[in-house]
């Protein structure tokens, strides 16, 4: 089930986010890594060192693009300059699929540079799905939308977050980047059972899975990507791959970034669950 039309029928294994502190290690030591995920916006530039590094990485590794500012859920129109630059990068990287978040972050042309939560309404689902379709048509590659961590809920919401996710992906006919850490964070912040979420996701649409660490405060949890993955998140991951199969998995570590080896070792812990699932499927 892992290779599907939402990830370009690829069967990628376990990857990590490509981050600047690891560039030297990767280019000089050439470690064996299944694939890297890049933040698209970091490379949507005209030239210079970032693109030079990217080209070197592309010579040796598989790479997938992940965006942070498409804002499918913003009520305003898509930013054409953003799309034009993104398409140029897609042509450069040949990413088999592209992901961005199920959120909003800009209004009236002003950007918050944050992943703001959606109101779970039918109007929002319709607008969001329409924009996902437009991006998919323009870029001509599969799109996967990622569930975000959130710290607020709206009075206007008419459904649960997972019902909203399903509504959007069915309307847009797109894939899902299932972030099990984000599900855990939101479940703690909004008091729901995270397994209800994982169990309700249309498994055949899962293109990729994200795992990450977070920071716990007295009254809420923040999605900080600066810690190892905790056991409850691994349990959600286990359930997710039981349902979706051997799915491309990526560890995000964006702050207080440790050595390459430490990050990669943390990501490779996913193997335990992937093997168990493969065994169960074989039996």
């Amino acid at each position: 089930m892992s290779a599907n039309r939402f990830n370009g029928f690829t069967d990628y294994g376990i990857g990590i986010g490509l981050r600047a502190p690891h560039y030297d290690h990767i280019l000089t030591r050439k470690p064996v890594v299944d694939w890297f995920e890049i933040i698209s916006e970091n490379f949507m530039i005209d030239g210079g060192r970032p693109l030079h590094i990217l080209d070197q990485i592309l010579e040796q590794y598989k790479l997938v693009q992940h965006g942070v500012s498409m804002y499918f859920g913003s009520a305003e129109k898509l930013n054409r300059e953003h799309l034009r630059r993104l398409k140029a990068l897609v042509q450069r990287t040949k990413t088999p699929w592209l992901s961005d978040h199920l959120c909003w972050g800009s209004v009236d042309g002003r950007y918050t540079h944050d992943l703001l939560p959606m109101p779970y309404t039918f109007e929002a689902a319709r607008i969001t799905a329409q924009k996902v379709r437009e991006v998919q048509d323009f870029l001509e590659i599969p799109i996967a939308v990622e569930n975000v961590s959130s710290y607020a809920e709206y009075h206007d919401s008419e459904m649960t977050e997972w019902e909203f996710l399903n509504e959007v992906v069915e309307r847009a006919d797109c894939g899902i980047l299932l972030d099990v850490n984000n599900i855990y964070v939101s479940s703690q912040n909004h008091s729901f059972n995270p397994f209800d979420y994982v169990n309700s996701v249309p498994a055949h649409r899962v293109a990729q899975i994200h795992i990450a660490g977070h920071s716990k405060y007295r009254k809420y949890i923040l999605d900080t990507h600066d810690h190892p993955v905790i056991d409850p998140v691994w349990k959600l991951y286990e359930r997710a791959i039981q349902r979706a199969g051997h799915t491309a998995t990526l560890l995000e570590w964006d702050d207080s970034i440790p050595s390459f080896q430490e990050v990669h070792d943390e990501a490779l812990k996913a193997n335990k669950f992937l093997r168990a699932t493969a065994l169960a499927e074989a039996v």
Binding site: M44, D108, R110, D114, T121, Y151, Y154, H155, S191
Partner: protein
């Protein structure tokens, strides 16, 4: 509430400045109490009020954009001092919220905004403007476009009075009233040192830096901000050298650029050919020349 209305309502609160203790303001953008404003669209839960939930996003927004601006303008921070820089940054971001999908462009209006709002430029506006221009040029040189460079032999083969060459789009040419290149290099060196220094040592360094800025005397310089092997460098230029390069960027022919550059020069006529030859050798070795392209624009 319609989606657009909800997003406008939330964005206004999220982008409203924090209090001096870095909390969300009690007063909402509509003038009423923020508690009431937040509770109109955000649900409370068993641990957090609507106000507190909205405040998480309000704080995240400001921490993020202020940090981004601080990273882009470390030299301006030193020139203004931390407290004045923070106040300036907030005023700048209120007037110039990000209109780009990337934080890379957040400081793009800093120079023009400071010119129009000199009260935020500190006691020495010329120095503040100089350092801002250099720091923005540094960003543009870092990720600016590069065209295939003309090699020295390409240049030597080409000849004639009408010959035109273009400068690489990533090369930035600037004239300054202060030697801000030295200042910025010093700031960066000290920032690197501070990462590994004790607090006492860092404080000592900070005081030293403040004194260094205060002592900085005007001294006109001409500079090229450019790249070698994908790293940005500052190269001091002679006035005539700067004039030739500027003329070439404006699309003048090689011969017209040279003639205009030396029009008011104090360089002895017999020394000029050798100087020009050396400069061209250097520029072409650095890969600054490329073929002219009619439609290319430099950002």
């Amino acid at each position: 509430m319609k989606l657009m209305q909800l997003q406008r309502t939330m964005a206004r609160a999220v982008m409203q400045p924090l209090t001096s203790s870095e909390r969300m303001q009690r007063r909402a953008p509509d003038g009423g109490p923020m508690k009431r404003y937040a509770s109109r669209f955000i649900k409370p839960n068993d641990r957090l009020t609507s106000f507190e939930r909205l405040e998480i996003y309000n704080r995240q927004y400001w921490f993020r954009v202020l940090a981004a601006l601080g990273e882009d303008f470390p030299g301006l921070r030193v020139v203004l001092g931390q407290r004045r820089f923070d106040a300036m940054a907030q005023a700048y971001l209120i007037a110039n919220p990000s209109r780009s999908f990337t934080l890379r462009n957040l400081g793009s209006s800093m120079e023009s905004w400071l010119r129009k709002n000199p009260k935020w430029a500190g006691t020495n506006q010329n120095l503040a403007l100089d350092i801002v221009r250099l720091e923005w040029a540094d960003i543009e040189a870092f990720d600016g476009m590069a065209e295939p460079a003309l090699r020295p032999e390409d240049l030597s083969r080409a000849s004639g009075p009408g010959l035109k060459v273009s400068l690489q789009p990533y090369v930035r040419l600037l004239s300054f009233r202060y030697p801000v290149d030295d200042l910025l290099l010093e700031v960066r060196k000290e920032d690197d040192d501070t990462d590994i220094a004790s607090n006492t040592f860092a404080e000592h360094r900070k005081r030293k830096r403040v004194r260094a800025v205060a002592k900085l005397k005007p001294a006109p310089i001409f500079l090229a901000v450019h790249r070698i092997d994908y790293s940005v460098y500052f190269r001091r230029l002679d006035q005539e050298e700067f004039a030739i390069l500027t003329a070439l960027r404006q699309g003048k022919t090689l011969s017209a650029a040279v003639v205009s550059a030396f029009r008011k020069s104090t360089v002895a006529p017999e020394e000029r050919p050798a100087k020009v030859q050396t400069w061209f050798q250097t520029w072409s070795t650095l890969g600054w020349f490329c073929r002219p392209e009619k439609k290319r624009t430099v950002r």
